[in-house]
Symmetry: C2
Subunit: 122 residues, 2 copies
Amino acid sequence: MSHALDETSTFTPAFDGAGLIGAIVQDAADGTVLMFAHMNAEALDLTRRTGLVHFWSRSRGKLWLKGETSGETFKVVSLHVDCDQDCLLVRVTPQGKGNACHTGRRSCFYRRVTGTGLAFES
Amino acid sequence: MSHALDETSTFTPAFDGAGLIGAIVQDAADGTVLMFAHMNAEALDLTRRTGLVHFWSRSRGKLWLKGETSGETFKVVSLHVDCDQDCLLVRVTPQGKGNACHTGRRSCFYRRVTGTGLAFES
């Protein structure tokens, strides 16, 4: 890893071959990890300019304001980038009912991996 | 997204075209997001069997016991998968000195994205 990436104060997000960067979404209030999705340059720019989290939907092949249909938007509290600038961490205040996952649950990580399969926790 | 993936109790991690799945590492004690890296099937299996986090290093093209040289290993507390089973959340107890990042910092997310660039927080 180059020193240029991990000790610079210049933001140069390392988009992958598909033009995407991963983004971890964390509840700023209590640290719960809510979801993980991808941003392209436009989604990142819109997230920074509007203060609402935008993603690039790989399944739908389109820009996506998180919560645009469900109302479950995320208000940005802070945005961080990791050492090699290929992952983002977005701390948010969930809006709407606070059910971030499309299944209606608060977090997408509602199943624990056990020795034999998955255990539902919500 | 198929119902089969988001409501099943069968663990079927959705490895990508390169055979990898993203893994968010979070400190189980206080919720700090420490790093993000990738696992292949072998790294995931070793993580589950040994209780120590393993990754696939994309830059080095090899299996990687996190902390094998630095001593900064991660003891697994819990493992979760998200709704579409293409991202893992590993809650850990950091071992060693608790400096997970290769730069010697506790977390890889030590820089905040500001309006003009990056602000170092550690």
